[in-house]
């Protein structure tokens, strides 16, 4: 398992540092926000065996949840717009931009599209 960050820009550079700063408060174990703890999924399945628990690359999520095009097709009917298919990323938005395992998930789109009020699990 490699230890590269999922950050979409200069991983070892500035964005990496900025991302690291926002991860300051580390959750010791699965919190109430977890979508996986109750499914028998272990820390290792996302984080690998690396001693340092850090951002999980998107390919890890896709590895279990399957192709992003198929995921987008499943949520195609969601109003007001499909969160998994949009003009900025196509179907390839990084899952971690919205879904969080150890924190409350967030709606990436809302600050810019105030009527895209979907709830992110």
């Amino acid at each position: 398992m490699n230890n590269l960050t999922v950050s979409r820009s200069l991983g070892v550079g500035l964005a990496g540092l900025l991302a690291a700063a926002s991860l300051a408060a580390a959750p010791a174990k699965a919190a109430r926000t977890s979508k996986h703890a109750g499914q028998g999924i272990t820390c290792v399945q996302c984080h690998g065996k690396s001693a340092r628990k850090e951002a999980v690359p998107m390919r890890q999520c896709v590895g279990c949840h399957g192709d992003t095009v198929a995921l987008a097709a499943r949520t195609a009917q969601i109003k007001p717009t499909n969160p998994h298919q949009n003009r900025h990323y196509g179907t390839q938005a990084d899952c971690n931009l919205c879904h969080h395992e150890h924190a409350v998930s967030e709606n990436l789109c809302l600050p810019c599209h105030t009527r895209f009020t979907f709830q992110v699990p």
Binding site: S9, L10, G13, L14, P80, R87, Y89, H113, R115, F116
Partner: protein
């Protein structure tokens, strides 16, 4: 300055001189730190106490010290170079373009058409850009004196701080370049037209000299230049350009001499790839509006204002800076617009304007593109509303701009069920209501405040003199007759337009004013084209027009090296 930089031969022009003196590079920072407090004070880098400035080795300075011993901006420590054994694959090209946007895609195609083997490495899953209009000067229908007059106008728009030779380069090459983009994008299937001169109404004559324009329009919305660049990328692929998507550049490969030899990028699989460039690397990664530290540092004005783009973390700036390039001095030029909430043709019409709470805040003859300067606090965060009553079609008929009828306004109303055309449906934000209180709720202002504001405004209008803000009497019309209208705009950062110091070949210069071999910057990453507080709207589509033009020229130049 206590340090003399010895220029070898030519004295640089005033623009370049200023950026070398006051801009930021790893090198210039070091020499300034050595120069001590006086030098730091002169360069206006921040509010360091004098003691701290004389002890640059102290930890925790505003611009800190990097681990490699060079003094840098604290948010820009030079990373450990990625080692060869970490590279999964090495590919060799003549030209490597970083970023597939409004400047990068044209650069790549232009280089390919001039015989180069070209790669484009792109962070996003596809080519990505934004906006609709990109412009150039049609030399055949323009008087030379007019071209020069327009150049002078643009220099004045930039408060005389830009590099005149780059403005001239745009003026004399943009017609050809924009036409070329239209033609090649169309070949790739784009929906694009040349709107020519009519849309540039205000500059059909400059200082009395006739002018003609080439105005490319990728649209109507929601179709944009982003779609256009994807079509242009198709044409480029046919011309042999190879595109690598989901492949952000993370480091440059640089020889000891300083020459840039290539780029290292990271794929979605997490693996590093090395792209060697025999002739040159062209950086075209756009602006840095999504990099908070960089924005706060270079344009603190927009600290509380929203953004319109995503993932523009200034990667190219970091790469260029690490390679020795120079940032233009603090106080970068910004572009904050909202053409989408209501009809664009009404955005500068001087209706009553109220801030987010509902208070009048400005003489409304100030253009929309400048209002960000009044609304940059955290509370307003760029929000304001234009307010008018049902008599607007007659009472504002003589104003400059173009009124849209109540029927037409429905196209901009999210609460109106009519299907929307030619707009970004998610961004429209125009409202109508029977009472001011109801309107206030729809535009998310405070009802009591809005009612009081309108009452006072109507008194001012009745008096025939704007004793509150001095707006001309013929721009005063009452807000009395329901239904009432409100266009709730929110200006956000469309782009930041200042960049790294380049010469007229768009080659990045180091702190000594010498070109860095093999390294070029275009688009918003390239400096020298602006300099004012806000991006000027004299030429509609100047920004994209400049991106296309410098992409076209630079691709060709590097291919021929």
């Amino acid at each position: 300055m206590s340090q003399e930089h010895h220029q070898n031969d030519l004295e640089p022009d005033p623009y370049t001189k200023r950026v070398l003196e006051d801009g930021l590079s790893r090198r210039s920072f070091l020499s300034r730190a050595a120069g001590g407090a006086a030098a730091l004070g002169l360069s206006g880098l921040g509010s360091l106490p004098a003691e701290a400035a004389t002890a640059p080795e102290a930890k925790g300075l505003a611009f800190g010290l990097s681990g490699d011993g060079g003094a840098t901006l604290s948010f820009l420590p030079k990373p450990r170079p990625i080692r060869d054994r970490e590279i999964s694959e090495t590919l060799t090209f003549d030209v490597v373009v970083v970023g597939a946007g409004a400047s990068g895609v044209p650069a790549a195609l232009s280089a390919a058409e001039n015989g180069a083997k070209v790669a484009v490495i792109q962070k996003a899953p596809f080519a990505l850009s934004q906006g609709n209009t990109g412009s150039g000067v049609d030399l055949a229908t323009s008087e030379k004196a007019g071209v020069e007059a327009l150049v002078a106008r643009l220099i004045a728009d930039s408060n005389h701080r830009c590099d005149p030779k780059l403005i001239r380069q745009w003026a004399y090459n943009s017609g050809e370049a924009v036409r070329w983009v239209i033609d090649r994008a169309r070949k790739g299937g784009a929906t694009v037209v040349d709107q020519g001169s009519p849309v540039q109404r205000a500059i059909l004559k400059v200082n009395g000299y006739p002018m003609g324009y080439v105005t490319s329009f990728f649209g109507p919305k929601p179709y944009t230049t982003g779609d256009g660049m994807r079509s242009l990328a198709q044409t480029a692929e046919k011309a042999g350009v190879r595109f690598f998507y989901n492949m952000p550049a993370v480091q440059l490969v640089q020889a000891r001499s300083g020459e840039v030899l290539g780029v290292i990028a990271r794929g979605a699989d997490g693996k590093y790839r090395k792209f060697l460039a025999k002739k040159g690397v062209i950086l075209a990664t756009g602006d840095y509006q999504n990099n908070k530290a960089m924005s706060d540092y270079f344009v603190p004005d927009v600290k509380h204002l929203g953004r319109k783009q995503l993932d523009k973390t200034g990667d190219g700036f970091a790469l260029a800076y690490w390679a020795g390039g120079v940032f233009e001095p603090i106080g970068h030029t910004k572009m904050l617009h909202d053409f989408d909430a209501g009809p664009p043709s009404m955005c500068d019409m001087p209706f009553l304007a109220v801030d987010r709470k509902g208070r009048r805040f400005v003489n409304e003859t100030v253009e929309m593109s400048l209002l960000n300067n009044y609304l940059r606090d955290a509370e307003n965060a760029g929000h304001y509303s234009q307010i008018f009553d049902s008599n607007y079609m007659t009472q504002a008929a003589a104003w400059p701009g173009k009124l849209i009828s109540p029927e037409g306004l429905k196209n901009y109303m999210p609460d109106d069920p009519s299907p929307k055309k030619g707009v970004f449906e998610s961004q429209v934000n125009t409202h109508v209501a029977g009472t001011l209180e109801e309107l206030a709720r729809k535009i998310e202002a405070d009802p009591a405040t809005l009612v009081a504001t309108v009452k006072r405004y109507n008194e001012v209008v009745a008096s025939g003199k704007d004793s509150d803000f001095g707006k001309p009497a013929d721009r005063l019309i009452p807000v009395m007759q329901p239904p009432f209208y409100g266009i709730h705009r929110r200006v956000r950062v469309s782009a930041i337009c200042s960049g790294m110091l380049v010469d007229e070949r768009h080659q990045i210069l180091n702190a000594e004013g010498k070109p860095i071999k093999g390294l070029f910057a275009i688009g918003n990453l390239g400096g020298g084209f602006y300099g004012g507080v806000d991006y000027p709207l004299t030429v509609f589509g100047l920004s994209l027009g400049r991106c296309y033009t410098f992409g076209y020229l630079t691709g060709r130049h590097v291919a021929r090296l």
